[in-house]
Amino acid sequence: MKFTIRFFYSSLLIVVALLIGTLPVLGAIYTISETSSDFFGVSLTNVSALSCNNGNAKATQQATYSTFTASGSWYAYVGTRDWEAFICHNGGSLPAVRYHIVANTGENWYTTVNFENWLGYVDIGNFDNSNTSGRTQMTNQCVTGYACDSYRWIYYDWVRYSTW
């Protein structure tokens, strides 16, 4: 009898412990959101291409490296955690793009993505603090050491981020 009662209470304790351990996980819903389409600076052209995630992207040409005549930048405001840029490979030669990611805490970082190499989502960094938001800035200026000419198109599709 004693054994049965002990067994019952032990089982109950295990179930309670499991529930307590599971609750925070259940509360933290993992979502993935798309950036808003707030663009500043250069004029971006709408393009339709199968290799772009939803068949649509925006694009601009890279500056001529000697003159930077078409220099400009644009922003997308994004949320927190893991940031991914969608790289849309629509044929031809593509440039490298230097992303500047700025958090509202003042933290910021740069990462260079050679569009030539990728098709799909590419990790561009993360914030440790899930309450931090920020923006990512891309420019059409040349990136040192990478191929650059005004015929290279930068396709801007989505930047996505995850929250918990």
């Binding site: 969608f86 740069y110 799909g120 989502y121 990790d123 993360n126």
Partner: protein, 267 residues
């Protein structure tokens, strides 16, 4: 008369033998050397490359070509990396016999600094916003997450914070995660190191490859790259070639942050 005929016949036979010799020799020269690994083994080596060395350092030449085959831009690159985040990169632009210091990048594993000499600017940033846990990197194609039918590519953290144009080839785990097709086509030597030559196609039904890579047989880094035109066979649009390489040699003495006198801070 008889001796004249013999002479003509002899010359004819001699010409035939010479032609045959030339033919055999040219075929032997064009014959691809068979690779020692198959494609799955090669891709596995790309996934695992960053675990196969502790430090790498060397020099490289980077050349981009115009449509007419003329050189559009050329750079020289000196690099040193350690698997735990040290980095020293110097990129110079080459214009004929002239060489201009263009970019310096230094990381001590915690802080990274990039100087763009032409613009007279520099950036200092923390490396903390790039993945610290290397076990989160996929180790095989089966571990690559996909979303909406596209891969979610996790580049090596050093590849994310270094602006070095070589970096995706020195840390090829990101390239291995792409959805296209790799095909081993032969073997070769680059800078006295044995390599496996592999072609990469964006899609299975593509006729022409988009790139050709020479993958180091020992440590899996890519020693030579040809970015190819998908419209014209074998037209090289861009070329990267490692011209010297040292593996597992000390690089600490190269980790020296440049003086910032006269430079403007960017961030």
């Amino acid at each position: 008369m008889k001796s004249k005929n013999t002479l003509v016949a002899g010359l004819f036979v001699l010409c035939l033998v010479a032609l045959l010799a030339i033919l055999v020799q040219s075929r032997a020269a064009n014959k691809p050397v068979s690779a020692s690994v198959d494609t799955p083994t090669l891709v596995a080596r790309l996934f695992n490359s960053h675990n196969l060395w502790k430090t790498i350092s060397g020099t490289a030449a980077i050349t981009y070509y115009n449509a007419d085959g003329a050189i559009q831009q050329a750079f020289s690159d000196q690099f040193a990396y350690s698997a735990d985040g040290l980095a020293a990169v110097e990129v110079n632009q080459i214009d004929g016999a002239q060489s201009a210091r263009t970019m310096t990048f230094i990381s001590d594993g915690v802080t990274a600094m990039q100087v763009t000499w032409g613009a007279g600017t520099y950036v200092v940033q923390s490396t903390e916003h790039f993945m610290q846990d290397l076990t989160a990197l996929p180790a095989s194609a089966a571990q690559v997450e996909t979303r909406d039918g596209f891969p979610v590519i996790k580049r090596h953290p050093i590849a994310m914070f270094s602006p070095d144009p070589l970096v995706d080839f020195l840390f090829p785990v990101g390239l291995a995660q792409r959805q296209g097709i790799y095909k081993v086509v032969g073997a070769d030597e680059v800078s006295s190191r044995k390599t496996t030559v592999v072609e990469y196609f964006w899609a299975a039904d593509d006729v022409l490859p988009v790139a050709r890579y020479w993958v180091d047989d020992e440590i899996g880094i890519i020693l030579q790259v040809h970015n190819l035109d998908q419209e014209k066979p074998d037209r090289v649009l861009g070329e990267i070639m490692i011209t010297s390489l040292s593996v597992d040699q000390p690089i600490e003495s190269l980790i020296v942050f440049p003086q910032t006198d006269g430079l403007t801070k960017e961030n």
